[in-house]
Structure formats: structure tokens, C-alpha cells
Symmetry: C2
């Protein structure tokens, strides 16, 4: 198994919440599960620690990182900045074909909204945001976006919404697609920022910060 694959597997385990935030990461257990020895596992944990997904405590092992309210706020703030930048760049560089792809994802998402399928709605939602970032054509930006969004993924794409919030979000997405189609970079940046600000407020209001006993997604194992 390649180094990057090991990192990916553990990242997935953390993002799925299989090892809940704050929980110790069982080295021995993961070694057996991934069929690797401790050396490559520990290399992967150090990388994930640099990404902010894992917390290393010298001589006391590693834990799945826990997000405080402040962390969550900071991450959303940066995410806003990154998406706004991506939106501007995307408007300069996106191809017609790519716009069609985003439009298709949008239509999909709206359908799932009408059907009341939150899970599928979120899937389409993500596809749109990621589509915009990809269209920005900046791999450095895409990389940072991936790493930042990974850390707030569960909060962002799991939080339940009131019908009102949901309706607002969909309207915002209409405006997002519209701005993209008009290639209105400044407008798109503004909408994306507002959209994420609203999402952040929802998440914080829902008390999603991962402090202590807030293991929303329990260990599956």
C-alpha cells in the first residue's frame, strides 16, 4: 500500500467519524486493519497532524482533532475567502462545458431539495462548490480548499436545516449559478461569502463544535 493511500484511508476513517473527535487513535488496531506496520502508519499520522486532522501529544500518542467553536469559526472564515477567490477566478476561466456540469449538478440538487432528500441534496451541493473550485484552475487553491473543507465537512454537510433555512440556501444557489453563468466574478464572490456565512451561523447555532461529549457520529467499528 502506497504512502498516500495510507494517509487517505486514515483520513477517511477520521472524516467518517469512525474515530470520533478527541478519541485516541489506536495504533496497534489500525496497523492490523490496514495490514501495515507502525512505521508507515506513524508517517501518515504526522502528515494528518500537519493537516490539522490529528493532534499529536508528545509521549502520549495521537488523538482525532477536536474542533472548538473558535476553530469552526476560523475554518469557515477561511473557507469563505477561498471560495470567494475560487468564484472570481472561475468566472474568468470556466469553460461552457464546465458551466453546464455545474448547472447539471444544480438541477440535480434542486430536484433532491424538492424531494426532501437531504443526503442527496448535500451531495449535489458539494459537487457545485467543488466544481467552482476546480474551474478556478488553481491546484494550490484546490488543495487548500480540500484540506480546509475536510475539517468542517461533517458540520457543513450533516447539519440538519429548517425548511426556511433550506429554502434560503436553495435560493442562494440559484443566484450562485446565475452569477457563474453571467461570469460575474465579483457578484459570485459576494454570494458565496454570504452563503457560507449563513451556513456557518447554522452550524454554530446547532452547537456542532466538537467539544467533549459531542460525538454526533459515534464510533461504528
Amino acid at each position: 500500500m502506497l504512502h498516500e493511500e495510507v494517509v487517505g484511508r486514515i483520513r477517511a476513517i477520521l472524516l467518517d467519524g469512525e474515530i470520533p473527535p478527541g478519541a485516541r487513535i489506536p495504533e496497534r488496531e489500525l496497523c492490523e486493519r490496514l495490514q501495515i506496520s507502525r512505521t508507515p502508519l506513524r508517517e501518515a499520522l504526522k502528515v494528518l497532524a500537519a493537516e490539522g486532522l490529528v493532534q499529536l501529544l508528545p509521549h502520549r500518542g495521537s488523538r482525532a482533532a477536536k474542533l472548538t467553536d473558535k476553530d469552526m469559526r476560523d475554518l469557515f472564515e477561511v473557507c469563505q475567502g477561498l471560495e470567494a477567490l475560487a468564484g472570481e477566478l472561475a468566472c474568468e476561466r470556466i469553460t461552457d462545458a464546465e458551466i453546464d456540469e455545474v448547472a447539471a449538478a444544480h438541477a440535480d440538487m434542486v430536484r433532491h431539495y424538492r424531494e426532501g432528500d437531504l443526503i442527496q441534496y448535500y451531495r449535489g451541493n458539494r459537487a457545485i462548490h467543488e466544481g467552482i473550485v476546480t474551474a478556478a484552475g488553481n491546484p494550490v487553491l484546490a488543495g487548500l480548499y480540500t484540506s480546509v473543507t475536510a475539517r468542517i465537512r461533517r458540520a457543513r454537510y450533516v447539519t440538519p436545516m429548517t425548511p426556511e433555512r433550506w429554502a434560503v440556501a436553495v435560493r442562494e444557489h440559484d443566484a450562485i449559478l446565475n452569477a457563474l453563468q453571467r461570469r460575474d466574478g465579483v457578484g459570485l464572490a459576494h454570494i458565496l461569502r454570504a452563503h457560507l456565512r449563513h451556513k456557518r451561523e447554522e452550524v454554530l447555532q446547532a452547537g456542532f463544535a466538537e467539544t467533549e461529549a459531542n460525538d454526533l457520529v459515534p464510533r461504528i467499528a
Copy 2:
């Protein structure tokens, strides 16, 4: 020696250009120099690879990452976004004391400009930009900024400038300080973007991309 210290030491070696971009990283040699074995060294290299400073080639070892023109452009683009965001946030949160600190760094920088001391000028310059990022009060943002700027540091803070360019840069910095003192977030964001766009053009024009035989900062060893 602690893990983070090892990472820091190697990072410094790379940023100093002691191991020039594209050069093989001599594991054995670094082990002796840092008085550690290969295990912790390799852990550090993987972390630095995730940061983008090191390139890992499976079964062929690691090299100091080389930046193409495109990489440089992408990094500057992201840096613009991060600094613009930092500027906006800083205007909302900066204390009077912090403004005074930035103003002091600015005065210093201008003095070094008048004296024609490019090295000291760049030092003050960096202090200003970093001061703004710090004042934004967002550690996530600060972390990303650190990692992105590290990769373009040599290009950004080594490139020589024509007297005209230099004069323009100083004027831009006057405007930066002014906007900060007026706490004009939008204005500051705009100026920072333009400032960095100009710097990027300088750097690219100077052909700083680290392709092949372009080891501007030679091995010191």
C-alpha cells in the same frame, strides 16, 4: 530533538536554498547532521511533502520541490486571496497598539528604502504583511499564509527591483498603512491584491521560476 523541530530545521535548510530546488535530499547526510536516524527524518520529509516543499518520488527518494511558472502564479494568486482576507479581518479586529506596531515597521521599512538597503527593506516589508495577518486573529488563516508564503519566500523577498518598481511598492505600502489606520477593510483588501499582483509580475518577469539550472541561491553547505 522533537518532531516539530526536525521539520523546522529541514524546512529552514530548504528555504535557505542550501538544498537547491530540484536537488536530491541526501538522507544519510541529513541524518548525521541532525543526529537522528532515518525514521524521524523520513517522517519529517513526508510532512514537508504534504506542505509542498518536498517532492517524493516512489522508490526514487525525495527532492527539494521545484516551482514552475504556473506554480508561482498559482501560489501568488492564493497569497493574494489570503492577504486580502487577512486585510479585511484585520480592519475589523486590529487594536490600536497593533496598528502602531505595523506603523513602526512601516516607518522602518521606509527608512531602509531611503537608505537603499534592500535586505532590511524586505525585512520590514515582511513584518508588515505578517503583522496584518496576525491582526486578523485567525490562526487557520495564519497557518495557511505561512505555508504558502514559505514556498514563494525566496522569489518574493529576494528579487531585485528597479528604482521605479521600488518607488511604486513603497507608495503602495503608504496606501496599505493608510487603509489599515482608517480600518477600511475593502480598500485594504484591494490595495493588498494590487500590491501582490505587481510583485508577482516582477517575479515572473525576472524569470524566477525554479526550472532546472535556475539555482539563484546556490548551495552554501
